[in-house]
Subunit: 216 residues, 2 copies
């Protein structure tokens, strides 16, 4: 069977994998799991992904790779060009640190299962949900903007003049923040890099509105 | 100046780095940042770590590495033995996927800044905080237990017969869950692997109670 990505247009984690695949010219069949309709909770998908989380990459031999960052690392090993991490250890550590500031410190707090839990189970309601989103997005963006502005490796992209894992993680979080009308004016460097990425077909074609399962 | 780790005994992320350093026989001076006292918010530490997050590794030339997983990857590059990731791509992807199920899907929801926000800013109080902790720990552990039980690579450790990044991420989360008296009986495989790790000096010596800044 062909390579398959369990995907959803609005999933930030799937969006990361789509960018990486586009940059490397990798194709995959799609199975769309509609997170809005709760399809990730259905037994059929739980049998594939016990955590109910997305995305999942399924290889031709049936091997399943879980977690967007593990998928990207796996693709990097099999398709090393263009590299998504610098070859030098210091640069690699810097890019990972910047990527994880989004992928670990920010995004896990703003994915749909957490937002629903905050709004409903915690009783925070729509206003509490919005406050939650703003608080954690701003916390993440502030730290990144400060680092990018003081570190000389920042250039056209977060690290040098080609996109890296750091940009791949940042851009879906900025898309998410815009959906919720967050004020991004305190982050001119992030906004500049977002625009630079948006001009690249690999990023544009991976964006939610361009997906076959996009709605509205 | 010598290599330095900004550390705190109860930080799960710092605990991961301590395990990795012990496994590889790496030493570092310590600067303790007391998260309970809010020292991570002080300007002196914010100047080092703009996000206010821990741990940070400072190299002899002053280079700073942020994010526990980036630090461990950096140490793996410089001190490849013993390897914390399998050499084969499928094994590497599996270990990363298991590690990230804790480090990305679970731990970011249960670190101190998030728990304080849930309890205070969101008004959930002590009970809401406890409910939050239990919900996300159980969600993470359930997915892991299911995968470990159905995948043949699970052995003495989460992947094979030596500790990997997956165990390094799991053990601090189990320590955290025990602090809050979570019932771990639904997770016999996780509990078995935790006991296997606890018998290794590298894990034992990295545990919170063994740290110079431990209290109580």
């Amino acid at each position: 069977m062909p390579r398959r990505l369990y995907d959803f247009w609005r999933s930030s984690a799937a969006y990361r994998v789509r960018i990486a695949m586009n940059l490397k010219g990798i194709e995959a069949e799609r199975t769309y799991i509609n997170l809005t309709k709760g399809e990730q909770k259905a037994p059929a998908f739980r049998d594939i992904s016990p955590s109910g989380l997305m995305p999942v990459l399924e290889e031709e031999d049936g091997t399943r790779i879980f977690q967007s960052l593990a998928i990207i690392d796996y693709l990097e090993a099999h398709y090393p060009e263009p590299a998504l991490l610098p070859a030098d250890a210091d640069g690699r550590a810097r890019v990972q640190g910047l990527a994880y500031a989004t992928a670990i410190d920010t995004h896990p707090l703003t994915n749909v299962r957490v937002l629903n839990f905050v709004e409903n189970e915690m009783g925070a309601g729509k206003d509490g949900r919005a406050e939650w989103i703003a608080h954690w997005c701003h916390a993440g963006f502030e730290g990144l903007e400060t680092r990018l502005n003081r570190e000389p490796e920042t250039s056209a992209f977060m690290h040098g003049d080609s996109p890296t894992l750091a940009d791949i993680c940042l851009i879906p979080q900025i898309y998410f923040a815009r959906r919720f009308d967050l004020d991004l004016s305190p982050y001119p460097t992030l906004v500049r890099i977002d625009a630079t990425c948006a001009a690249l077909p690999a990023f544009h074609d991976a964006s939610p509105s361009q997906q076959a399962d996009a709605v509205g």
